[in-house]
């Protein structure tokens, strides 16, 4: 990885320049690993790196200290080149206790940097982690890894010796010691962290001072302690010029809605029921009362969805969000929006399942639910962002399509996109597509199910419009008049019309981008949060001269009109997914192509290495 060594004055330690590095902070739930990781991410962002992050935490709020299931971690990859994933194998691992050591050591590269906090390796913690003997005493550990035993607890305590804090409060500063140390190892600027500490503890000046002292002590320790012979730099990445910010998927979804509301001048009414990992969208929107958004924490998932539908009936942008279990509960309501032909936006932040499953872990197994998880023929538009930042655009796009076609639009995000972050080029809002809205007010010739010739959308009428009083509902209705109808041919016609409306959304889909040559041996087709892992794997194979290309689908229903043609230009089609093979089944059924899946359902993002290997295996299959 290190490709050059900077000559430094004798007093300084040599600095190696890397193109990228993968770091993971791991400790107990109470050790502040998420804060540490987020803060390191900000430092790397300030240094101009491209970044991808993977927070990973237990579902338990306060898991018992020291246990294996209570381990919380934050991983990031930062680089001077494009970074597509949080990384597969770790260049550096910081572990705060034996449980974290046990859970995470296997992911550290041989020769990688291993920073441990030995004072946490006492009998009690070793017992909890299931160690009969202290693994730090194993002499091979130092041979296999660059092991650094840093008594972060003791050193932090010492740095804060004269502070008027109790022992527990002092101990809680040790994560900033770790951050200071790792910031030195990777030459990250401390300024953003100093600012963040000041903001975070604005009301407790003694905590500001303590955490800053711990941070600086960690940094100084790296500089002066004999154990670190060198440190590393990662140059700024070449990224498109502009102003950047760090963006998580959930925040991007929320802000995309705000942008759509501002553009349309129509308020968003957002109905949600708390559920991991979707709740942050509700939290984020609830902060923005100055914007065109009204949030409603409903009594249950069904009320969240039906309130959104009520709002759409009233001429607002009705939006509801949940994760898989909640989407299942909303199914009947979504069907109502299908037949009432009202705009409705539904965010599904997929997580491991079935049932409660793995609430805090990621999965892509709700695709079939999004497409078919309702009674009868009830098609909806399904789209999927590929990166955290893309969530902004897809939320906006969902609103645009829902209004233009008077249909429900499901946005499939996932736990990885929701909590993961990336440096995000802040868009010029003027470049976003327009979202025209015309509420019908003309009485002459009005019928509730009169259709637009191009989109088949029915008119959107705000209650309060004189002369257009009308009734809609879940019962089958006659086309055009909207009167209740049980007539067999009318039902058949309405089933086809609702499907055709969704099908016509295909005219909105831009030409599919192919990463690679337009024909070849293997085409890798993905969707959603696997974008980074697939891109990294495909580009690695391409760099070796292999005939591999990739397309990443952002529109899943309808599928892009050019997709069938593209699929037929490659000898084999590989579909990596974090499910048992859902998109692959659709592609096979839709296009009669012999696509094969690559499926791992571990609650974790796919590793680019395993996709790379799957590509190679497929390449080896004889023609």
């Amino acid at each position: 990885m290190s490709d050059r060594v900077t000559t430094t004055p004798a007093a300084q330690k040599p600095r190696h320049t890397l193109t990228r590095a993968v770091i993971r902070f791991a400790g107990d739930s109470g050790d502040g690993m998420q804060v540490t990781g987020e803060q390191f991410t900000t430092e790397a962002a300030w240094a101009g790196n491209d970044i991808s992050t993977l927070p990973n935490f237990p579902a338990e709020i306060r898991a018992p200290a020291g246990t294996l299931f209570g381990v919380s971690s934050f991983q990031l990859q930062f680089g001077s080149q494009r970074v597509y994933t949080p990384g597969d194998q770790l260049d550096a691992l910081v572990v705060m206790n034996p449980a974290a050591f046990k859970v995470h050591l296997a992911d550290l590269k041989p020769g990688g940097i291993l920073i441990v906090n030995p004072s946490a390796f006492d009998k009690r913690n070793l017992d909890k982690a299931g160690y009969a003997a202290n693994p730090l005493d194993d002499p091979t550990l130092g041979e296999k890894y660059r092991l650094h035993q840093v008594d972060m607890e003791g050193l932090t305590k010492k740095a804060l010796e004269d502070m008027p804090l109790n022992a527990k409060e002092k101990d809680r500063c040790k994560n900033f010691f770790a951050l200071g140390l790792v910031s030195w190892v990777y030459t990250r600027p401390l300024d953003p962290t100093l600012d963040a500490i000041k903001k975070r503890f604005a009301k407790r000046p003694e905590f500001v001072e303590a955490n800053i002292r711990a941070l600086k002590a960690g940094h100084a320790f790296g500089e002066t302690a004999e154990m670190f012979a060198e440190h590393y730099g990662v140059e700024a990445a070449e990224m498109p010029p502009g102003t950047y910010r760090s963006m998580t998927g959930n925040r991007a979804l929320a802000w995309g809605l705000l942008a759509a509301a501002e553009r349309t001048k129509i308020p968003v009414v957002f109905g949600a029921y708390p559920i991991t990992p979707a709740s942050d969208i509700l939290h984020e929107l609830a902060l923005h009362k100055r914007f065109r958004v009204r949030t409603f924490q409903a009594e249950d998932e069904i009320a969240a969805a039906t309130a959104a539908i009520g709002a759409s009936f009233g001429g607002c942008i009705g939006v509801t969000a949940s994760s898989g279990p909640g989407i299942a509960l909303k199914g009947e309501a979504i069907g109502l929006a299908v037949t009432a032909e009202l705009p409705l936006v539904i965010f599904d932040i997929q997580r491991g399942g079935p049932s409660t499953g793995l609430p805090t872990k990621t999965e892509q197994a709700d695709l079939m639910q999004a497409l078919y998880g309702r009674n009868s023929e009830s098609p909806v538009v399904v789209i999927a962002p590929s990166t955290p930042g893309d969530c902004f655009y897809m939320a906006y796009e969902a609103v645009r399509l829902a209004i233009k076609y008077m249909v429900p639009v499901m946005v499939l995000s996932d736990g990885y996109l929701a909590n993961g972050s990336e440096p995000w080029l802040i868009p010029d809002l003027k470049t976003l597509p327009d979202i025209p809205v015309s509420f019908r007010t003309e009485k002459e010739g009005f019928f509730p199910y009169l259709r637009d010739a191009a989109t088949l959308a029915r008119p959107w009428v705000r209650p309060g419009t004189p002369g257009l009083e009308h009734r809609i509902g879940g019962i089958e209705k006659q086309d055009v008049t909207g009167n209740i109808s049980y007539e067999p041919d009318n039902h058949d016609h309405m089933v086809r019309t609702r499907a055709e409306k969704v099908r016509r959304v295909a005219q909105e889909i831009p030409p599919t981008t192919i990463n690679g040559l337009p024909e070849g041996d293997v085409l890798v087709v993905g969707w959603g949060g696997t974008y980074g892992a697939i891109t990294a794997a495909v580009e690695e194979a391409q760099a070796e001269g292999k005939s591999v290309a990739a397309v990443h689908l952002r529109y899943l229903n309808p599928l892009p009109p050019d997709l069938g043609h593209i699929l037929r230009q490659y000898r084999r089609v590989l579909v990596p997914e974090i499910n048992s093979g859902q998109l692959v089944r659709i592609l096979r059924a839709e296009y009669l192509v012999d696509a094969v899946g690559f499926n791992r359902v571990r609650g974790l993002p796919l590793a680019s290495q395993e996709i790379y290997e799957a590509i190679n295996q497929l390449l080896e299959v004889k023609r």
């Binding site: 962002a45 300030w46 101009g48 953003p192 700024a236 990224m239 498109p240 010029p241 502009g242 102003t243 950047y244 910010r245 760090s246 802000w255 705000l258 942008a259 308020p267 009414v269 009362k289 100055r290 914007f291 009204r294 409603f296 409903a298 009594e299 249950d300 069904i302 009320a303 969240a304 039906t306 309130a307 959104a308 539908i309 009520g310 709002a311 759409s312 009936f313 009233g314 001429g315 607002c316 009705g318 009947e332 309501a333 069907g335 009432a340 802040i426 809002l429 705000r462 209650p463 309060g464 419009t465 004189p466 002369g467 257009l468 009083e469 009308h470 009734r471 509902g473 879940g474 009167n483």
Partner: protein, 339 residues
Amino acid sequence: MGVPGATPKYTKKDFESDQDVRWCPGCGDYAILSAVQKMMPDLGIPREDIVFISGIGCSSRFPYYMNTYGFHTIHGRAPAVATGLKLARPELKIFVVTGDGDGLSIGGNHLLHVLRRNVDLTILLFNNRIYGLTKGQYSPTSELGKVTKSTPIGSADRPLSPCAFALAAGATFVARTVDRNIAHMEETLKRAAAHKGAAFVEILQNCNVYNDMAWGVLYDRESKALHELRLQHGQPLVFGPVDDRRGLVLEGVKPKVVKVKDVPESSLWVHDETDGGTALVLAQLVSPEYPIPIGVLASRPGDTTYEEILIQQEQKAVSDRGPGDIAKLLMSGDTWKIG
């Protein structure tokens, strides 16, 4: 929205839609529909600003027959749909029409929360103590031991009092009326519609096909005199034939039926609409041991509604920091420049 003061002079006919009414001949719903249509002109609200929202069941066909805006939604969810509509459009006058199955069984949770939040809605619950549209299964208000298709040897669950439910949920207006008493229905519905906040009206309604005469004691003149307790604010709770007046007295929180002539007048329980506690006692009186209270059980006008609180929060946020600007939001917090 119409211009205030310029509301057209409506008649009942203006609120009749062009749809064929499809309830069974003899259904109590006809009388309710007629009473609602008849009282609408008195509300003084432009027709286009009125919305009827319903769930599923016989009662829930109601919106189709009203010449207003209407939405026939899904089973039990009308209160939630109406909440969303109210959040979107607080200026609209919204009615929710539901039944004992729709509102208290599958939709019990939504009814609970819409009342608790005091969303400004007028909620009409038609209580016929049976599932009609699914052809006659017992409902959450059916009496214990009710023999129906799904309970051939009698139901095993105890009935719920809709008004007690509403009061316990914190409803700010709770009333009960009867489908066969047009004048009382109109008067009660008018008061409910005029109430700001969640107004709940239980309408005792006859299903002549699956549960005929469930409220029969209130239909026949003679038994009505014995069983109907007309509630009037500030008046003692008395009922019964002229020659044999009965009254209610409270012993602690326990109600007791007495002969009026046997007790001093001052000892009779005087109805106080503003007292939710005694209203809860009234709501739980069960025939034949007690009379059936009809009228406004509780009314607590002036409570802030759910949507008013939200709007106040938004107005304060805007007045404190100005309206939101998405471009500024995107640039807020930590940002950095490249190139």
